[in-house]
């Protein structure tokens, strides 16, 4: 009878997340030191330019999250494996978290640097539309229940949504060709930027891992509950 219950034992909670969390926390402190003390003051934008060290890595990781979500969704559509769907969901959620960072720090920077909260500029627009698409994805996944049709709907949304961005970018670039002042990075700034990127990658991987695990465990739990109802019934 027990063979019926092999719904995949959830992996033992390992100590690894704690290690990585500590590393990430330490990294954050290091990032602060780098951003606020080590990095030289930029000439024209001065203090507000330091937002950039958080903003840019977040934007990259936000994109990464959404692209990974789309890739995993495509795999899910083709192979119908639950784990791909769980991974796609986790990627979208982490991407959205970084997206919130990008879309709040971006206007803060823009207001101080350009005098406006928002500018119809390719990168901003692209990010905003991508964020909207994946916010829709998240809303549907959170409130639509967790049935295969909803998973599929989400997957299709992600698969269509991510390549969309290329179009938006090309279109807006053509429309509003002015690129923002490309900041000439001094070597120290470069060091700070890449260290921040590294630290954010650690945080990203950690968050993704935790999230993915949670989704997988929730699925294991509902599979277990299902088997129980089968045995009990």
């Amino acid at each position: 009878m027990s063979s019926d219950l092999t719904v995949g034992d959830p992996p033992k909670p390992s100590k690894a997340p704690l290690f990585w969390m500590t590393l990430a926390a330490l990294g954050m402190f290091l990032a602060h030191w780098l951003v606020f003390i080590y990095a030289p003051m930029e000439g024209t934008m001065r203090a507000v330019q330091r937002i950039f060290y958080f903003h840019l890595p977040s934007a990259w990781l936000c994109y990464l999250g959404f692209i990974m979500c789309a890739g995993s969704s495509l795999l899910y559509l083709l192979k119908q494996k639950s784990k791909h769907d769980a991974f796609a969901l986790a990627c979208a959620e982490v991407g959205l978290a970084f997206g919130v960072i990008v879309l709040t720090t971006g206007p803060l920077w823009a207001r101080a640097a350009w005098g406006v909260w928002w500018k119809w500029e390719p990168r901003l627009t692209t990010m905003a539309i991508l964020f909207l698409i994946f916010a829709c994805y998240w809303v549907i996944r959170s409130f639509g229940g967790d049935s295969p049709p909803v998973r599929k709907f989400g997957a299709v949304l992600a698969v269509f949504g991510a390549p969309n961005i290329v179009f938006v970018h090309i279109a807006v670039t053509r429309w509003r060709g002015d690129h923002p002042n490309n900041i000439q990075l001094e070597p120290e700034m470069r060091v700070v930027l890449y260290s921040c990127l590294l630290i954010f990658i650690i945080i990203y991987a950690l968050a993704l891992r935790l999230r993915y695990r949670v989704h997988m465990e929730e699925r294991t739990a509902s599979a277990l509950a299902r088997e129980l109802s089968r045995l009990g019934g």
Binding site: A47, F54, E93, V94, T104, L108, G115, S142, A207, S229
Partner: protein, 164 residues
């Protein structure tokens, strides 16, 4: 399309127990609310921080010498940016504007720091909240898994005693 069959009465009793530690729809709504609220709070604080440059109050530190309409106008307009010389008029017109420009620069500097701090705290907040919510959810699901496994064990024990 296909009809979902109504749940078995048996499943329902099981479900009630299971829901105790599960994330209910209410929990999801709460989560969405918190996310929205925090976003609103962030935006509110941002717009609050934006007020100073529009108020002439900050300029009181450095009194404006002489009634200069341009110098007075510029700070009250919604343009905190100083393209160092907004117009050649400014540059030509006065030695006094240099004082007001200084004040303006100071206000801008203040704004820059304010925005930096807000941005910085948002970064922290978002990361912290994300990890925390994930952690909480993971604990909830872990406890649910434990409970379910306990029930499986009990069921197995019951079965083996029935067979034996």
């Amino acid at each position: 399309m296909s009809h979902l069959p109504p749940p078995h009465p048996l499943d329902d009793t099981h479900r009630k127990e299971l829901l105790v530690s599960d994330l209910t729809p209410l929990g999801r709504v709460a989560r969405a609310l918190i996310a929205t609220l925090s976003l609103c709070c962030g935006l509110l604080s941002v717009s609050y921080a934006d007020i100073p440059p529009n108020r002439p109050k900050a300029s009181s530190e450095v009194p404006i010498i002489g009634p200069d309409p341009i110098a007075k106008d510029t700070p009250s307009s919604a343009e905190p940016v100083t393209a160092p010389a907004t117009g050649s008029v400014d540059a030509v017109k006065a030695r006094e504007p240099s004082a007001s420009e200084l004040a303006k620069e100071e206000r801008l500097e203040e704004l820059r720091y304010k925005h930096l701090w807000i941005a910085y705290s948002i970064v922290w907040l978002v990361i912290f909240m994300f990890i925390r919510s994930t952690w909480k959810r993971s604990e909830a699901v872990a406890s649910r898994l434990d409970e379910l496994k306990g029930r499986v064990k009990r069921l197995e024990a019951q079965r083996s005693s029935e067979e034996g």
